[in-house]
């Protein structure tokens, strides 16, 4: 269950609209390594995660990603606010304007609509956590590319830098969770009774 807090996680106040930047940044809203994919990935993986620490990490990072989704949507909205259709067209958003106006639509920078194919739930805690680690690095790399493209506008740069830093912290937390799961799997197992084969203790 979630509660909405009427405050952004990090302040965003963009004074100069710039639809060109919005066209790129929207990838972190609904693109392959965007915040929507991140949130859905973690929140879906948490249900069957057997490890106590990893479960909590997936839940809480998945929740924070929703706050990041709101931040990215806010950046896109403020960058395109009060921009006339002609200027949107000049910025390469003519096709976008045709289908979505100035609403925020989850799509990649290249215009591919969001798809659940961006995420994986593999039914295996190690595979899932490795996927999460890679996802955080891919998101960090995407933010760094966006930062390269937004160098002229500190109002946009600042929240992007914050979001990039969070990817790094999340990578650290997932790494710790993965190590915990691996340590647990490496522990010596003791079986009672006449069970001779090595089997998953949870099935006994």
């Amino acid at each position: 269950m979630w509660t909405y807090n009427k405050v952004l996680q990090y302040p965003i106040n963009i004074k100069c609209p710039n639809p060109k930047l919005a066209k790129f940044i929207i990838s972190q809203y609904g693109g392959p390594d965007g915040e929507l994919a991140a949130s859905l990935r973690y929140l879906s993986q948490r249900f069957a995660m057997p490890d106590q620490n990893a479960k909590a990490i997936l839940n809480d990072i998945g929740t924070e990603e929703l706050a990041h989704l709101e931040m990215v949507g806010t950046i896109v909205h403020q960058l395109t606010k009060n921009v006339c259709p002609e200027d949107l067209e000049k910025a390469g958003l003519g096709a976008y304007y045709t289908d979505h106006g100035v609403d925020v639509y989850p799509q990649s920078a290249a215009g591919t609509p969001f798809t659940a194919a961006y995420i994986a739930t593999k039914g295996d805690p190690i595979a899932n956590l490795q996927e999460d680690l890679a996802a955080e690095q891919k998101a960090r790399a995407t933010y760094e590319k966006l930062i390269d493209l937004c160098k002229d506008d500190p109002d946009v740069l600042d929240p992007l830098r914050f979001l990039r830093q969070r990817e790094i912290v999340h990578f650290q937390r997932f790494g710790e969770a993965l190590r915990g799961v691996q340590d647990k799997l490496a522990e010596k197992k003791f079986y009672m009774g006449n069970c001779t084969k090595k089997i998953n203790p949870e099935c006994c």
Partner: protein, 148 residues
């Protein structure tokens, strides 16, 4: 320095010339060294050393001379909210770190009190706050540009 810069400095520890990886290492190593932590209200100095959050106006809150503005209160709510979230995630993989637990308690109590104070004046931050009139509708919403 505008308010955004302040926020950045507090949260990202930029004033110590640390990059984010160093901040992480610093935070992790400091928090794991919890041998000296026996109280739930670490001194200002102590909490800055481990997890660098400093808030403006804290000392002036009750003296009536310089009341924090709406923007300042909201900024502090964001800062405290961030601290609570970040420490909570850290605690998920370091549940036995008593120093981190102390900080979590300190910041979440401060956040609760400050939110209470803010909502009494400026209206609800969530629909769970009791209202006499339905102020939830008041603009701006977080995604709309505003001065606070």
């Amino acid at each position: 320095m505008d308010t955004t810069d302040n926020y950045m400095n507090r949260n990202m520890n930029c004033n110590c010339n640390m990059n984010d990886t160093m901040l992480l290492q610093n935070m992790n190593s400091n928090m794991m060294d919890n041998s000296n932590c026996c109280c739930c209200k670490p001194s200002r100095q102590e909490s800055i050393a481990t997890y660098s959050y400093q808030f403006t106006n804290r000392e002036n809150d009750n003296c009536g001379e310089t009341q924090p503005t709406r923007a300042e209160m909201l900024e502090e709510i964001r800062c405290l909210g961030f601290a609570v979230v970040d420490i909570a995630q850290y605690l998920n993989t370091h549940p036995d770190d008593s120093k981190a637990l102390c900080l979590h308690r300190e910041y979440s109590e401060q956040l609760r009190d400050l939110k209470d104070k803010y909502q009494k004046v400026y209206g609800p931050l969530s629909i769970y706050y009791p209202c006499n009139s339905w102020r939830w509708l008041e603009e701006p919403w977080p995604w709309e540009r505003s001065d606070f």
